[in-house]
């Protein structure tokens, strides 16, 4: 007696095609969001690290991590906030290595000198002091300051990005600005007098 097996010749190819289509859709959506938020990831990293090359590496790593877990992100509208947190965390991890930090600051100062050769000496000094004062701020305060100064974000936008109430953003901004002012008061007076 002969046995007949019924097979569907196109089934494997169909499954493969479905997977490929799904992958393409995820990739397309991710690239749209990356074009919109990639700069933010870079700026957050740059605000923490203050080095272009390191910030670019961190932004790339953050975007790749985000892509790996993108399929599991339920609310895609929160992608921007999610990316900011990933980028900030990676940048902080990188910053914790003291040796690399020293090298980075030396390099950053060289770049600053090159880039702002014609600008005033006092302005350079103030910017340097501001950045060093920023480094001493706690991470939460620093991130709020950076985000509010970045791309003209409002307090509401910052609160959405960080998933915290607007009141929390306001109070963090207030304390961060006061701490900076305490450290920079002596550097700004000569500039004002002039």
């Amino acid at each position: 007696m002969q046995e007949f097996v019924l097979i569907e010749p196109g089934s494997t190819a169909k499954a493969e095609w479905t997977r490929e289509a799904e992958r393409s859709a995820i990739r397309r959506e991710f690239e749209e969001r990356m074009a919109d938020s990639g700069a933010l990831a870079y700026r957050v990293a740059c605000g923490v690290l203050r080095n272009d090359a390191d910030a670019e590496d961190v932004a790339q790593e953050a975007l790749l991590r985000a892509f790996r877990k993108f399929a599991r992100l339920r609310d895609r509208t929160r992608f921007r906030a999610w990316l900011v947190r990933i980028s900030f965390r990676i940048a902080l991890d990188r910053l914790r290595s003291a040796k690399r930090r020293e090298l980075r600051e030396a390099e950053w100062m060289r770049e600053r000198k090159r880039g702002q050769a014609g600008s005033q000496q006092s302005s350079n000094e103030f910017q340097k002091q501001l950045e060093s004062a920023m480094d001493e701020l706690p991470g939460k305060l620093r991130l709020v300051l950076l985000l509010s100064a970045m791309e003209g974000h409002t307090l509401e936008e910052v609160s959405t990005l960080l998933s915290v109430p607007v009141g929390t953003v306001k109070s963090r901004m207030f304390f961060a600005r006061k701490q900076l002012a305490e450290k920079l008061r002596c550097f700004v007076k000569p500039t004002i007098d002039r």
Binding site: R19, E22, R23, I26, R27, F30, E31, M34, A35, G38, A39, Y42, R43, C46, G47, R50, D52, A55, E56, A59, Q60, L63, L64, F67, R68, K69, F70, A71, R72, F126, Q127, L130, E131, M134, L145, L146, A149, M150, E151, K170, F174, R177, K178, L180, A181, L184, R185, V188, K189, T191, I192
Partner: protein, 227 residues
Amino acid sequence: MFCEAYNRSLMDAAASSELSPKLRGHLAECESCHSAFAQEQSLYAAIDTGLRAAANPEIPSTLLPRVRVALNNEPLPHASFQKWVFVSAVFAGAFVFTVIFELRHREALATTVTAETPALPSPRLNELHPSALAAENSIQQSKKAEATRPIPTGAAAPLTAEVLVPNEERAAFEKFLAREKAPSANSSAAVLLVPEAPKELGPLPAVEIASLKVLPLNGGEDGQGEF
């Protein structure tokens, strides 16, 4: 300098950029507070300018193309998830297998009742003097006799109890047993003598050295041997 009464509130107002009507009125009246507040505001303005400069650097043109190239080498996110599930399942299976194997091994060890002592290695046995050899043999025999003594276990334990009674109390104990003999078939007792103290090993014979030959080290008679 701010007036003492308004110092804190004006400093906070400069930091938060929010002025109440009361403070606004005081600033209009007090020249000293007005100039100090202006200074404070210029400080915060400088900070904001510096922050904006630090927080908005130019985006390198290579960033997005670099990420796109890296994305091409990334596996499908869903596939990556499946891979982790598979790896976790393999690890869990290996762990369960190890635990079961370990439990079985312990059970097998617990049921082993034979206690054998491994033979002591004696590589230089043939080089010993006959008298030392005899002494060692006697020690090994006594050890062997002790090691091969059967160990009573729960299953093989005798049902009759053994009671050690001194010689002078033996007759009294036999009477006691005869009187107290219970009807129970499971229990009985046998009277045994107290064993004598084990004999001590005799003194070992002195080792005899047949001959002793003194040879110089290599290198002749100058006393400088080779090391």
